[in-house]
Structure formats: structure tokens, C-alpha cells
């Protein structure tokens, strides 16, 4: 849900540019933190989870423009630094297939990895309280996704000046609505015609209400997968902690 | 063989894989009558699996016609699927687990059998295939041959009318092979189950088949007949990347040395032939 499936050429340059800078900076930081042996040992898992994310993301559940993310499941399995690398890879590959632009890779990585990292920590925190895998996994996923959606809205908010400028100087109707419709695929939007200005509140309302469905769905799927893994190879879930 | 109900007809199908590899299953018509035991022999990559996938409606032919129990499997397979048991070549993903027992119960429960009945069936097949000790094991943790056996159990559990087996003996140890052969033959004898299998073990062909097809090139079906008949014409077999069964090679060798005992395909037969000749010789 938090994926910005923006094509290239719509966000302002300074925005996606700083997205890149930040992403690279964080990647560099993480690469200092992680031990080399740890990294190579977990590469196959990283590859497989990233592959699963790519495949999940490219199968859109059409009516609600939702696709399976698997970021939280991957985050739990891979840990915070590897999930960052994994989402970077995922976004690059998706971009190479035309699903989402190349210029927004940095921003997407930030948002998507936030989801995985939060999921990872929530899962560990909740597990201390209850040892029931389904509710714990569901709740962590739900929370992580909702927070990352907020962060996505924040990113979009940053570009408002740019959209308004485009809206008035170039064409009459604005680039901002692109963002809006992306997130609410299939919904009719009646008042749209009337508005000449960027209406950020309405945008938020739609993203959040649709997002809610997505969080539920992803929560269910993630908890089912984690339950299966917990049953078969529980050690995978805690591999990170044992290091 | 005439007059029996035809349950499978394949009429010169062409399949083109996404990378443009073309497999043309043609030459002879591929026909299976009810109650027959049919084997397909052919070299690696000649198109055996491709043919079986067409029978199951998993691939769609570009040209040609396939009929299974009178229907077109690409469209109406669900109508006949309860009557067909399948083991594909790659066994890993066929087992849906999580445990061996769950996996064997999978089909019966999905076809809407009562739990009690389903369990009865599962336990019968577990007994038959000697899987008792593995019952509770997670399917991801089985050895190669064990996986094959579990897949076979999953195919046999519903007591299907038709069994489609892609290299069922591959990876089984000799005793398990023997057991499987006798289970299959028993099913064929007692319940009239038809089966179609591909295999590479020429020595086993005569034990498990009435009809043998040879395939070569890219799908070319060039021979149909009883194993005796086909192995009799030994000279052609090398074209098919095949060898003759051990006994055929032995007796052919003997013939070359001037000792013509005949050309048996089974050990007991061979023993009788040699013995007879030997005794005949003793007399004069």
C-alpha cells in the first residue's frame, strides 16, 4: 500500500534526489554496522525474500490496487539492516521492469524499508508479551504498514508546492491528483472537478481508508506465512538475534 | 485390444514453449484403452513430460487435439480430475504438506469425503507403501526417495481409474521399485486401473506394461507395440538413446556365439529357456 507507483518525471527533482542521497547514506551506515560473515551467510535468504517481494509486488489485486508486500515478513526474517538492502534490490528490479520509476527508487526504498524495520521491532516487542504467533504477527504488520503509509503521505506532502506550480503555470489541472488517484484506484471522485487547488486532506482520507483494507489483508497473509515458518523452521525467526 | 473403451486420444499436437522450443507429438496417434498399462520410453528432452502435461490440461496445444475420458483437458479437467491420480517428475512441489499424513489426506478431504472415510483411505495407502514410520514427518524434511513415495501415496489414495506417472521409479531403491510394481499390477488386475508412465529403466518395462511407445527427436512417436515385439527389433533402439534390457543383450550375445536360446524378457522365462535347451541337448 505504501508503494509509490509513480512513473518517472512527476515528483520534483529535489525530492527524489534527496531520497537517493538519504537512502545511500543509510545503506552506508548499515553496511558499517553489519558483520561481513553475517551478511554472506544470510544472502540466500535475502535473495529469496527479495524475489518473493518482487513477485508479490508485480501481481496486483486489481479492484483495490493492492499488492502483497511481504516487507514485514522479510523484515522479521532478515533484520533491520538486511531488509534495507533487500528493499533497495526489490525497487531496482521493479523499476527495471517498468513497475515504478527509476528516479523514485531512493524514496521507495526509504518508505518500504521503514515498514520492514518497524515490523521487525514490533514483532520482537509483542513477542515478549504474548507467544501466539498469529495475533503478534498480525498486529506488527498492521502497525508497521500504517506507520509507513503515514510516512508516504509525508513524502507526498513535501511535493505540494511543486504540484501547485505545475497546476497553475503549465496545465490547468494538477499533477497532484495523479498521486491521489493512484492510491484510490477505481473510486469515483466527484468533487474533483470543482477543485483547482491541491486538496491534501481529501488525499489523506482516501489513502488512509483504502490503506486500512491493505493493512488488514497484508496482516492476514503475513501471519499465515509466519505461522507456517514458525511451525517448520522456528529458528529462522530468531536467527538475527542469535547472530 | 479392439472394442475396448478408448480413454485417451492424442492427435498430433504441437507445443511451442515460450523460448520457441517446438515439440511435435506426432507420428503415431497416442491412444490408450481402458485397463491398459502403457509405457513411454525416450531419450532425455524428447517430450515425454510435455505429452503428459497435455493430458493433464497443464499445457495448451498450439495445434492438435487431446481427449481424456472424452473431454478436452484444457477446458474441463476438473470434471475428470477425481478419476485421475498424478505423480509428476519433479516431486518437490507436489507435496503440499505440512506433514506426510496431512499431505496424503489432502485429496480425499478436498473431494469432499467424510473425515472418517478419508482417514481410512489414507491409512490404507500408508500401509501399502510402507510409509508408517514417516507419517508424522514434515514433508520438507524427507529424503529424495521418500518424497517420491509420498507423492505416489497422494496419487493412489483416491483409488483413481487412471494413473499418470512421470518417472515413478526414479530415485526409488530396488525393493521399493519392486513393491510399487506389484502394487500397480495388482491395481490393474483387480480394479482394472489404467496407467500411463514414462520411465528410463528398460529392464522394468516388460514387468509394468502391455503397450510400449517409443518417442524420439522432439516428440516423434514412432513405435507402438508390446515390449516383446519392440525389444525384438533391437537394432533400432540405439536411435532412441535406448539400450535393450539386460536379458535381451545377454541372449543376443549368446546367439552371436552360436547359442540361440530365444529372447526372453523375464528372468523366469530365461531360466526355463536355458534349461529346456540344456536338457534337450543332454538327450541325444
Amino acid at each position: 500500500m505504501s508503494h509509490i507507483h509513480l512513473p518517472d518525471g512527476i515528483l520534483p527533482v529535489w525530492l527524489w534526489g534527496s531520497g537517493y542521497v538519504l537512502a545511500v547514506l543509510i545503506a552506508w551506515l548499515f553496511s558499517r554496522l553489519i558483520k561481513k560473515e553475517d551478511l554472506t551467510r544470510r544472502l540466500p535468504l535475502l535473495g529469496m525474500m527479495a524475489a518473493a517481494m518482487v513477485l508479490g509486488a508485480s501481481v496486483e489485486i486489481v479492484p483495490i490496487a493492492y499488492h502483497v508486500n511481504l516487507t514485514v515478513a522479510s523484515g522479521i526474517l532478515l533484520g533491520p539492516s538486511l531488509i534495507f538492502l533487500a528493499t533497495f534490490v526489490v525497487n531496482l528490479i521493479l523499476a527495471l521492469f517498468g513497475h515504478g520509476g527509476i528516479t523514485v527508487i531512493g524514496l521507495n526504498t526509504l518508505i518500504l524499508s521503514l515498514e520492514g524495520i518497524l515490523g521487525h521491532f514490533f514483532f520482537r516487542a509483542f513477542w515478549r508479551i504474548s507467544n501466539r504467533i498469529i495475533p503478534v504477527a498480525f498486529l506488527s504488520t498492521f502497525l508497521a504498514l500504517s506507520l509507513s503509509t503515514f510516512s508516504m503521505i509525508g513524502v507526498v506532502r513535501l511535493g505540494v508546492d511543486h504540484y501547485e506550480e505545475l497546476l497553475h503555470t503549465h496545465e490547468k489541472k494538477g499533477l497532484f491528483e495523479l498521486k491521489l488517484l493512484k492510491e484510490k484506484t477505481g473510486h469515483e471522485e466527484h468533487e474533483e472537478e470543482a477543485s483547482e487547488k491541491v486538496n491534501f486532506r481529501r488525499f489523506m482520507a482516501i489513502v488512509l481508508s483504502l490503506g486500512f483494507l491493505g493493512w488488514l489483508l497484508e496482516g492476514v497473509i503475513t501471519s499465515l506465512i509466519l505461522r507456517y515458518i514458525y511451525r517448520l523452521r522456528p529458528e529462522l525467526l530468531w536467527m538475527i538475534d542469535k547472530g | 485390444m479392439e472394442g475396448r473403451e478408448r480413454i485417451i486420444e492424442v492427435d498430433c499436437i504441437t507445443h511451442v514453449y515460450p523460448d520457441q522450443t517446438k515439440v511435435q507429438i506426432c507420428g503415431l496417434e497416442f491412444v490408450v484403452n481402458r485397463g491398459e498399462r502403457v509405457s513411454i520410453l525416450g531419450s532425455n528432452g524428447c517430450g515425454k513430460t510435455t505429452l503428459l502435461k497435455h493430458l493433464l490440461g497443464l499445457l495448451v496445444p498450439k495445434e492438435g487435439r487431446v481427449r481424456v475420458f472424452g473431454i478436452d483437458p484444457t477446458k474441463e479437467y476438473p470434471e475428470v480430475r477425481e478419476r485421475i491420480g498424478v505423480v509428476m517428475q519433479d516431486v518437490d512441489e507436489q507435496i503440499l504438506g505440512p506433514t506426510v499424513y496431512d499431505d496424503i489426506l489432502f485429496a480425499p478431504l478436498n473431494y469432499g469425503l467424510e473425515k472418517k472415510k478419508a482417514k481410512g483411505l489414507a491409512e490404507a495407502v500408508i500401509e501399502k507403501l510402507n510409509l508408517g514410520s514417516l507419517q508424522k514427518k514434515m514433508v520438507h524434511y524427507l529424503s529424495g526417495g521418500e518424497k517420491k513415495k509420498v507423492a505416489l501415496a497422494g496419487a493412489l489414495v483416491m483409488e483413481p481409474d487412471l494413473l499418470i506417472l512421470d518417472e515413478p521409479f526414479t530415485g526409488l531403491d530396488p525393493l521399493s521399485r519392486k513393491e510399487l510394481i506389484s502394487i500397480l499390477n495388482e491395481l490393474n488386475r483387480e480394479k482394472g486401473i489404467t496407467f500411463i508412465m514414462t520411465l528410463h529403466e528398460v529392464d522394468l518395462v516388460s514387468e509394468v506394461s502391455d503397450i510400449l511407445y517409443l518417442m524420439h527427436g522432439h516428440g516423434h512417436l514412432s513405435e507402438r507395440g508390446s515390449p516383446e515385439e519392440i525389444f525384438g527389433r533391437f537394432k533400432e533402439l540405439e536411435n532412441f538413446n535406448l539400450e535393450e534390457p539386460t536379458l535381451i543383450r545377454l541372449f543376443r550375445g549368446l546367439k552371436k556365439e552360436g547359442l540361440d536360446f530365444g529372447s526372453p524378457l523375464r528372468i523366469d522365462e530365461a531360466i526355463q529357456l536355458i534349461k529346456k535347451k540344456w536338457n534337450d541337448k543332454q538327450k541325444p
Binding site: K36, L46, L96, Y228 | -
Partner: protein
């Protein structure tokens, strides 16, 4: 997703001049296309760009079957148009931006085998990243195969039937877990065999 393997096939089997061009040049080209798309606001410029890309598409004899892949991002652009008072100029502008970027990228992938792309990236990205890319890519094919065969198994063994929605749902969710688990197991086996065959920390490829 089937297109992934088809793109690969095109990239490896094709023999046009674009296939022979060095991957570095092609990646630079993509950079140029993106720059154009980002900065340009004039219709004629974009028409020119898209025209060039289409021309390359045909010259390199890239199969038309992958052209639809470039339309995927249009899904969103179309929705966008839907609320923009339908001004022709604007519609064309957005469509062309989106189409040009996507066509460029697909063209790159259809004429350059992925190891070459990764290898070129290797020059300015850390090798861990490139190795991760490679592993992910290979894992995608493994997972696709597992996905396909799991689907087949569900189908052949009656795992999904509208008659029994509840059972089917349970089966599906189990199959999901099974899929990921099998994928993880397989990727571990793959990694083992990479190590057995000389992999140390980075992949070496034909184009080295």
C-alpha cells in the same frame, strides 16, 4: 510475470546492433532518456523521444509481445487523466513521459542479459549489492517454478474448488506458506552449490 523469462530469452538470443552495444552505453542511454523525461515539458520533444525509442524497438527486432509491458505504468497515468478536465495537451504530455521512460527500460532489458546489467552496475555499486541483485534474480526464477508447480499440484489434487470455499481458502493459505518455505529451502541449496562451485564474496561473470 511470465514476461521476465521471455525478456531474458530475447536478451540472450537476439543479435541486433542494440544487443551488441556495450551495456555501459545502453545504461548511459537510459540515463539520458530519464533526464529528458524529467526535465522536458514540451510535447514535440517528448514525441521525438518516444519516436526514437519506438524506432529502436523495431530496429532491434524486439518482439512485440513485450511492448504491453511498457503500458503497465499507463494504468496510473490514465487514472490521472481522468480528473484533469481531459485537456489533450496535458494527456499527451503525461502519457508520453510515462511511455518513454518505460519503453526505454524495457528496451534495455530486452537487449541486455541481466548479468551484464548487474556487472555494469558493479562498477559503481558495492559488490555485495550486486551479488544480492544476482541472487534475487535467480531466486525469482526458482520461486516462479515453485509457484507454477504448487499451482499445478493444487489444481490436480482438487485443492481449489468454488464448491468448497472455506477449504480452498485454507489450502491456499497453506500453499502460501509452503511456497515461501520451499523457496527458502531452495535458495539455501542454491547457495550451498554456489559455495561448492567456488563462490567467495562476489559473482564473476562472462563479461568480467
Amino acid at each position: 510475470m511470465i514476461q521476465i523469462s521471455y525478456l531474458d530469452y530475447l536478451a540472450i538470443e537476439g543479435g541486433s546492433f542494440l544487443h551488441r552495444l556495450s551495456p555501459g552505453v545502453k545504461i548511459l542511454g537510459i540515463g539520458f532518456v530519464l533526464l529528458w523525461v524529467t526535465l522536458l515539458r514540451s510535447l514535440t520533444g517528448l514525441i521525438l523521444l518516444y519516436g526514437i525509442l519506438l524506432l529502436l524497438f523495431f530496429i532491434s527486432r524486439t518482439s512485440l509481445k513485450v511492448l504491453p509491458l511498457t503500458f503497465y505504468p499507463l494504468l496510473f497515468a490514465t487514472l490521472f487523466i481522468f480528473i484533469s478536465h481531459f485537456q489533450l495537451h496535458f494527456i499527451l504530455l503525461v502519457f508520453l513521459k510515462v511511455l518513454s521512460a518505460a519503453t526505454g527500460v524495457v528496451l534495455l532489458l530486452a537487449t541486455t542479459p541481466y548479468p551484464f546489467i548487474f556487472q555494469t552496475l558493479n562498477r559503481f555499486l558495492p559488490s555485495v549489492f550486486v551479488t544480492a541483485l544476482f541472487l534475487t534474480y535467480r531466486s525469482m526464477f526458482i520461486l516462479l517454478k515453485v509457484l507454477e508447480e504448487t499451482q499445478h499440484a493444487l489444481y490436480l489434487r482438487g485443492g481449489f474448488q468454488w464448491k468448497h470455499p472455506w477449504r480452498s481458502l485454507i489450502n491456499l493459505s497453506n500453499a502460501f506458506g509452503h511456497l515461501i518455505m520451499t523457496g527458502i529451502n531452495n535458495s539455501e541449496k542454491m547457495y550451498e552449490s554456489m559455495r561448492l562451485r567456488g563462490f567467495k564474496n562476489r559473482i564473476h561473470y562472462r563479461s568480467d
